[in-house]
Amino acid sequence: MSYIRKPAVSHPKLARNKLGLTARDYEGTVSTLCAGCGHDSVTAAIIRAVFELNIEPHMLAKMSGIGCSSKTPAYFVSQSHGFNSVHGRMPSVTTGASAANRTLTYIGVSGDGDSLSIGVGQFVHAIRRNLNMCYIIENNGVYGLTKGQFSASADIGSKPKKGLPNQQEPIDAVSTALSLGATYIARGFSGDKEQLIPLIQGALMHDGFALVDVISPCVTFNDHEGSTKSYKHTRQFYHHVVDADFVPPAEEIRAAYKEGSAMPIELHDGSKIVLRKIDQNYDPTSRARSFKFLRDHVNAGEITTGLLYINEERKEMHDLMGNIDTPLSEYPLEKLHPGNGELKKILSRYR
């Protein structure tokens, strides 16, 4: 951790977004994580993504549970809402928050322990509900805060700093989400922001549950020779299958793409994601084929990254339930609360 404050000084020619803010305005406090932690890089990517999307800080809600990963919302967008919940319970707290106010943009930051061990039940049900949120897993394969025991995402054969290699089958967040019917599934790497920033932007603008599983090396407990979640290993077995460019609403697609390789997908707000297939065998809109492709590459020891699956057809939680758009806090009390007489009438229907 650092004791030096990040100086308030900034580059005099720093870019400003449509709100007149600079990326520096989207920062939080200085990280207290280990120097070189992948999570800090993910934080920087989130800052960049939110800045470029012109999100008003007070319209953002940062949700988290417990763990190194769950500390990170303190390090971005200080001016937003936030809730640091109980271990593994971030999805249900977010469900509650979203139920009360669907106009906020929800970003949940969790880890492999928080989401795949103690909170795995919460995680799968948030997907089932198709809760409208960007769900980031900062995935490093170990429990960093308790000094480096293997987590549920550790690969078979991965070596710890001390002790025996992992023998248990890992839970792969991406395959799990795909099997459960998540509607936006991506995997990135903290060391590749060029890919990660648009993946987070797409996830923030997607209507429904958007998972971004980010390989985010633990520089202290899992960055050694023999680890399968180190910077070096990740770079070596990196398999980039689909790049995604995020194009905001009302902007033309300006980049030049080769015929047949680009696939624009329109999101609900009119923005677009242009998928650039790097591996021509991959089709990110077919759940069945994606599943096979991903499993084959897991078995080959490759780390498949990019926007791996997208489905803009399925309705998110509020639309499934027919909820109103207005936040409950702004809804007149007399409408929110029908009164004793009405309640009795409703109850009588079930007698």
Binding site: Y3, I4, P7, S41
Partner: protein, 603 residues
């Protein structure tokens, strides 16, 4: 781009913008840190090593360091470097036992220095410790050259001047005052082993327009200032016009106000932005209600009944092109401005009527001697030049720099060594990491604005000619100002082989000066860094290929505030903060040990 060659001492030296810009290469950040620690004597000695006259320069230096200061690019105003130098001088203890000592016995070589100004004094300062016998010939009745004759006492008190000059003369120098050299040939015949010319640029430019010689009330700036300095002139008319807007003009107008003038106008031929005077000298003059009239080109003097009554000016209009160049201007009218006295301050020329033209010393079309810029020797072996006399009017700090180089050359010449075979400039790097999160320097960016110099009250200051206007920084101001220094000499040093490309340094850098990217040529790289790298005067620091991806780390040196966060957040120590000490060789460094035998301290 190729990996940056940081073994070239100039690379890290250039990052220390102030030190690089200083002709004498004073280690500015180092002495500012010493002041911050309250070590004023140490700060003074650090200064004196390179610039010899810290008390004088702390008041009247032309400060090439300040426009260069990185702080000026990060925000608006540079660190008040010059003012801090004065703090070190004002608060020093008795440092006489730390000054260079004359050698215990002379080496039998005699060196003549012509002119007792800053260039000659620097040569004496550097050569006495090596045992050279020094004779200084000075035409006037006092030492100091233009520092005494041209800089008014309200800017530079004689006490300050005397103290620092005496430090040098006390080493044992044969000083011959009121001894004008009228013939170089005769001097050379006296058998000195080397001769150094430090006579300045003593001829004020004249303005040959009608009426010039019809009145005694038309003065040449530097001559007039000299007469005031030596009490030959003690009054001037009520209405004074100063022609020219250089630093001499500023001294003339402010001196006039102290000799009885109550309306002083500085007449500028060109608009603002094209003045030669330093910004702070303009500010100080305007604070004293001197009016600066722009676009007035002198046409003639108006004389009535043998008395100067005014001047006629042509009113000018200029066009300035996109590159900021000004044209010759067109005349749009005429205007008469009444006055009692006129002072001409339109520049100085070199003049060497006393150097014969057939003794091997060559001159160019501007009457400047042809002098080697490295060795300071002219066409005649054993004759050296420095200060304004070498390459035309510059300033004190350049004269000091020339003096140091000339001293090395004189030593080598007298020892029959090659003048070109000089010690190279070196650089030393030392890590400043003290512990897990501890650095040896104050690296927190202090957003405080530049402190302003307190001045003597506007009424009080005109009562006498020698009331020093600037009071010097208070302790509170000093404490604030030292923290504004960015410690540019604490360098960010990168070891590519240790980098794991985690991006921690890039994410934390407050001024976006770091990028990891594919290599390319410079123009290409500059276009795709984390923030625009548009200042081409500032280098890109390009690493070797990084081990994981073969990309490169690129640092734009332009706006780095040397906060050390990149090194603080680096998990592998690939970034380190290392203090660069630029090693500038002086004459004593060139000398063998046996040539340096200081006299035993007096019992």
């Amino acid at each position: 781009m190729k990996p940056t060659d940081t073994s070239n001492p100039d690379y890290f030296h250039k990052v220390v913008d102030c030190q690089w810009a200083c002709p004498a290469h004073t280690d500015v950040p180092e002495y500012i840190r010493l002041i911050a620690q309250g070590r004023f004597s140490d700060a003074y000695i650090e200064n004196r090593k390179s610039n010899v006259f810290p008390g004088i320069l702390g008041r009247v230096c032309d400060r090439p360091c300040e426009p260069a200061c990185r702080r000026r690019r990060v925000e608006d105003t540079p660190v008040a470097i010059c003012r801090l130098k004065r703090v070190a001088a004002d608060h020093r203890d008795d440092i006489r036992d730390r000054l260079p000592q004359a050698a215990s016995r002379n080496n039998g070589k005699r060196v003549a220095l012509i002119g007792a100004g800053c260039a000659s004094l620097t040569v004496a300062n550097d050569l006495r410790p090596l045992g050279y016998e020094i004779t200084i010939f000075e035409a006037l009745d006092a030492t100091g050259g233009l520092m005494r004759s041209n800089i008014p006492r309200f800017r530079l008190p004689p006490k300050v001047l005397d103290e620092e000059i005496d430090y040098i003369l006390d080493m044992g120098v044969d000083l011959k005052l009121n001894h004008r050299i009228d013939s170089m040939r005769e001097l050379l015949d006296e058998g000195f082993d080397a001769v150094f010319v430090g006579t300045g640029a003593p001829r004020g430019k004249n303005l040959e327009i009608p009426g010039r010689y019809d009145s005694d009330n038309i003065h040449i700036g530097i001559e007039w200032l000299e007469s005031v300095a030596f009490d030959h002139i003690d009054s001037i008319g009520k209405n004074v016009l100063i022609i020219g807007v250089g630093n001499t003009a500023m001294d003339c107008c402010r001196t006039s106000l102290r000799l009885g003038a109550n309306d002083v106008k500085v007449m500028a031929r060109k608009p603002r932005g094209f003045f030669k005077a330093s910004d702070w000298e303009l500010e100080d003059a305007e604070e004293e209600n001197v009016e600066i009239l722009v676009n007035h080109s002198p046409k003639n003097f108006l004389i009535e009944k043998g008395k100067l009554v005014g001047m006629t000016f042509e009113l000018m209009e200029y066009k300035i092109d996109e590159a900021g160049r000004i044209d010759r201007g067109t005349v749009t009218g005429e205007k008469v401005i009444p006055c009692d006295d006129v002072i001409l301050a339109i520049g100085q020329d070199n003049a060497f009527p006393w150097i014969e033209r057939d003794i091997g010393i060559e001159f160019n079309e501007w009457e400047c001697p042809i002098v080697d810029e490295e060795t300071m020797m002219c066409g005649r072996d054993g004759v050296f030049f420095g200060g304004d006399s070498a390459f035309g009017p510059k300033n004190i700090i350049w004269a000091v720099a020339h003096g140091h180089e000339a001293a090395i050359s004189i030593h080598k010449y007298c020892q029959n060594e090659s003048l070109q075979d000089r010690l190279p400039v070196g650089v030393n790097l030392a890590s400043q990491k003290m512990g897990m999160h501890e650095w040896s320097y104050s690296n927190d960016y202090d957003p405080a604005a530049r402190r302003l110099m307190p001045h003597v009250d506007l009424k009080e200051r005109f009562k006498k000619l020698d009331i020093e206007v600037e009071l010097g920084f208070t302790i509170e101001q000093t404490i604030q100002e030292v923290e504004r220094c960015l410690n540019c000499d604490i360098q960010t040093v990168f070891a590519a082989k240790l980098c794991i490309e985690c991006d921690a340094c890039i994410d934390i850098c407050p001024v976006n000066c770091l990028t990891i990217t594919e290599n390319g040529d410079e123009a290409d790289l500059r276009a795709r860094l984390s923030a625009p790298a548009e200042n081409h005067d500032q280098a890109l620091y390009v690493s070797d290929d990084l081990p994981h991806t073969s990309r490169v780390m690129v640092k734009d040196e332009d706006l780095c505030v040397h906060c050390g966060l990149c090194a603080e957040r680096c998990p592998t120590g690939a970034w380190d903060m290392q203090k660069s000490t630029v090693l500038i060789p002086y004459a004593t460094d060139e000398a063998a040990d046996e040539q340096l035998q200081p006299a035993a301290p007096a019992a």
